[in-house]
């Protein structure tokens, strides 16, 4: 699920700037703490979990959470805590890469549509409509049917399916910014069209998209894990949350910890990213009003 396209209509045409002095709410503190923890897990996993996420010990399979194994052990006796920590990097990478692909494509489509003249606008709108008409997982599934499953495919597929939403927002933002006073002033001052686009329009049009992208990263992780569950995503024994979840699901009645902990990691990540995105959104909105 991408952030709904209409979320973007909340933006006015004023310059976007976060208000640094505002007090943080409890929700924001929790979200930031989760994100920082994740960043630590992604960058220096050895610090949080010194073990090897792939080390097996078949005789210790299916052990319930204990002091020695805080999240228990999986079907091959691997330590679930170590795997969840080491999985952060992979999951975050997929989330970030998919969002980057989505926004990159959206930038091209949105900018061409807004400033490229009638024909280009027509063409990009049609491309957008086609992408829109195959919502989410459907587009990803069709894409996977063509290219075959795997991490790269999953990432691209998720990125592709988020692109049209971003593209619409970028296009309408650019159109709005173009009509604003300071762009008209720049035109009067005789700046070239590319300078105006690069220096004035794009920075202002794109800023809110990055707020939306915060929302998107969480959803991209959720999606990628769904594809792993359907057997089309990350390949085991790699420590990735979605793959761990689907590997643990058959054992849900005997080893709940295999599904619960990676699931909580996904929910915590996606929820924190969403919460941060939303508070960024409302902060920028307060700034404008």
């Amino acid at each position: 699920m991408t952030a709904p396209e209409t979320a973007g209509t909340a933006y006015g045409t004023a310059h976007v700037a976060a208000r640094p002095g505002a007090r943080l709410t409890a929700g924001e503190v929790i979200s930031l703490a989760v994100i920082l923890l994740l960043a630590a897990a992604a960058l220096v996993p050895q610090l949080l979990a010194p073990g090897d996420p792939l080390a097996i010990s078949p005789t210790e399979a299916f052990q319930a959470p204990s002091w020695q194994h805080p999240f228990g052990t999986d079907e091959s006796g691997r330590d679930v805590y170590t795997r969840v920590v080491h999985g952060a990097g992979q999951s975050l990478l997929i989330g970030l890469a998919a969002t980057a692909i989505g926004i990159g494509l959206a930038l091209v489509l949105g900018t061409l549509g807004a400033v490229g003249g009638r024909a280009l606008d027509f063409a990009t709108t049609r491309i957008n409509e086609v992408l829109f008409a195959l919502p989410g997982l459907l587009l990803a599934l069709v894409f996977i049917a063509i290219v075959g499953p795997g991490v790269t495919t999953t990432t691209i597929a998720v990125g592709l399916s988020t692109a049209p939403g971003y593209a619409r927002i970028i296009r309408s933002r650019i159109l709005a910014v173009r009509r604003s006073g300071y762009v008209e002033a720049a035109v009067v001052l005789g700046h070239g069209p590319l300078t105006i686009l690069g220096r004035h329009i794009l920075p202002n049009a794109v800023a809110p998209v990055f707020v939306l992208a915060t929302l998107g990263v969480g959803q991209a992780i959720v999606w990628a894990s769904s594809l792993s569950y359907l057997g089309l995503g990350v390949v085991p024994p790699a420590a990735e949350w979605g793959a761990m979840l689907s590997a643990g699901r058959p054992y849900i009645s005997v080893a709940w910890w295999l599904t619960v902990f990676p699931g909580l990691a996904i929910v915590a990540t996606a929820a924190s990213a969403t919460a941060l995105g939303r508070s960024l959104q409302s902060r920028t909105r307060q700034e404008q009003s």
Binding site: P4, V130, L138, I146, S225, S226, G242
Partner: protein
């Protein structure tokens, strides 16, 4: 208005053609012989004669351009072809599966709406801490993967409590868990959108004047604020419908419900070209229709849009 409708319909037709073309050429790029896939099955080894026969039967021996033109010609007449793996008319198969998915998505959409409305009103009227809890719930609900939620619901309601069946059965009890699985994450999204517009509406001049006229807080809330708060969420219905269809792929697989989503997943793994194309087209068609309908409602409701 007529011109507007004609343009929308032409746009929709273009979308369908583009999807059919993309899938047609895309699926030809994959490694593996479609004739082999047609005869495939665990342990089966088709003979060359059988393969040749299947190729001839399905026109797989013709030049690509000819295959494409034939395929498009058939699609234009509403013939979606015969499923490779199920050996039945695709349109008939989709007809069998369509209603199950439609029922599931419509019920889920309604449930999500009801939950979202409750959450949103609770969040705007409640105390500070109540608001925080409600918005926390929204965020968490919208971040839960469908298949994980489904597993947790089955674990709780079927395995532990024994209240509800874990698979699709006749009657309403079999629908409860699938609908909840689809509705909860969507409700989280809708509630976020609704809460913001509700908060805005409650501050708006007409609500203030209603309060000034001495209307009760409940009256204000239900008569004015909610109606206005719902508008942005209604225009999200097209998007919500799309997200439900993709959620149905997972939910139908987990709960063994017959439907388009599960058929699509099977078709993708079986490389069943006519079936993948057919389901993609039908769901795209449904999406296009829903979008035209919501756009039309918006135009009727808001005259300013007609000039745009």
């Amino acid at each position: 208005m007529l011109r507007w409708v004609a343009a929308k319909v032409a746009g929709g037709a273009f979308v369908l053609w583009a999807i059919a073309t993309l899938i047609f050429f895309g699926l030809r790029l994959i490694p593996g012989d479609p004739a082999q896939a047609l005869l495939g099955g665990p342990g089966s080894q088709a003979s060359e004669e059988a393969l040749a026969l299947v190729r001839r039967e399905h026109g797989l021996d013709l030049p690509l351009a000819e295959q494409y033109l034939l395929a498009m010609g058939r699609l234009a007449t509403g013939d979606l072809g015969t499923s490779y793996s199920l050996r039945q008319d695709v349109l008939t198969l989709i007809g069998e599966q369509f209603w199950g998915t439609l029922l599931l998505t419509v019920l889920s959409l309604a449930t999500a709406w009801a939950i979202a409305l409750l959450l949103a009103t609770w969040a705007t009227r409640g105390s500070r801490s109540g608001r925080a809890v409600a918005s926390g719930l929204e965020v968490v609900a919208s971040a839960v993967p469908h298949f994980w939620l489904a597993s947790m619901l089955i674990l709780l309601f079927s395995s532990l409590l024994g209240l509800l069946p874990p698979v699709s059965v006749e009657g309403p009890s079999g629908l409860v868990l699938p609908v909840l699985t689809l509705a909860l994450p969507l409700a989280g999204f809708l509630a976020q959108v609704m809460r913001e517009s509700l908060a805005d509406a409650l501050e708006s001049p007409f609500v203030l004047s209603a309060r000034a006229r001495g209307e009760s807080e409940t009256g204000v809330r239900w008569r004015h604020a909610i109606r206005h708060a719902s508008l942005p969420a209604i225009s999200l219905s097209g998007w919500a419908f799309g997200s439900l269809i993709s959620g149905a792929v997972v939910v139908e697989t987990v709960f063994a419900r017959p439907g388009l989503g599960r058929s699509l997943l099977n078709a993708v793994t079986a490389r069943d070209i006519p079936m993948v194309t057919g389901i993609a087209l039908v769901s795209a068609l449904a999406f296009v229709l829903v979008t035209i309908a919501t756009d039309a409602i918006d135009r009727v409701a808001d005259p300013r849009l007609r000039r745009a």
